[in-house]
């Protein structure tokens, strides 16, 4: 069964450092998403990406965040200068022609120290 793959599973970084979270969506999917879940809280939308550009973003997704699909297979989330409050589980998701059928990756746990 196809799946969304995220790497790394856990990343620890120092405050102020840049991090890149990586995702390999399902190969024939067209829509890509990043969500985050702060421990004990609900899953929050960050950004959606379609046709090589951002289609929607939330107020959380400020100038410190960026997304890229550099090579047609990977989908990355970059945080330029991490803050303590960026510590969370980050989920990548993708969906295909059936846009409602979104598949989530296993998540990357980001810890900012």
């Amino acid at each position: 069964e196809p799946e969304v793959t995220q790497t790394p599973s856990h990343q620890v970084t120092q405050m102020g450092q840049e991090v890149i979270l990586r995702c390999v969506p399902i190969s024939n999917h067209l829509y890509f998403y990043w969500y985050r879940q702060i421990l004990g809280q609900k899953v929050e939308f960050l950004v959606s990406f379609y046709n090589n550009e951002i289609s929607e973003k939330s107020e959380i997704f400020d100038d410190q965040f960026s997304v890229e699909r550099p090579d047609g297979s990977n989908f990355t989330l970059k945080i330029r200068s991490t803050k303590l409050e960026d510590s969370a589980m980050y989920f990548c998701a993708s969906s295909g022609p059936l846009v409602w059928e979104a598949f989530f990756g296993q998540g990357t746990r980001l810890t900012v120290v």
């Binding site: 969906s95 059928e101 979104a102 990756g105």
Partner: protein
């Protein structure tokens, strides 16, 4: 704006019994999708069941079924014959009927199945 409310932060059920998780939502949209996602301790988000708002018939998926009340904006999940593997966090989610749109998640209900 769309909001999703899950009023039961924690629930428990005896193995083999039936449990219902509640979800209400608020939207001005007429066409949308509703979902229940399961998040086991592994933290992966797994789709349990989906409902299209234009369909009156309640969705079912094996032991999982929903009670969709569009006028009341209610979307509850019923789990029959509960199994230990059903222990997880359950999130109700909403998505508008446009392409590439975001999910709006509720705060989740932590379900424990007791042997």
């Amino acid at each position: 704006a769309q909001t999703v409310t899950q009023s039961q932060p924690e629930m428990s059920v005896q193995e083999a019994e039936t449990v219902t998780l509640s979800c209400t939502y608020d939207t001005s949209e007429n066409n949308y999708y509703l979902f229940w996602y399961k998040q086991p301790p592994s933290r992966q988000m797994i789709l349990v069941i989906r409902q299209e708002a234009y369909k009156q018939q309640n969705a079912t998926e094996n032991r999982f079924s929903v009670n969709f009340q569009k006028a009341a904006k209610s979307f509850s999940l019923k789990i029959s014959d509960s199994q230990l593997g059903d222990t997880a966090m359950y999130f109700c989610a909403f998505m508008k009927h446009n392409t590439g749109n975001q999910f709006y998640f509720g705060t989740g209900t932590s379900l424990t199945v007791i042997p």
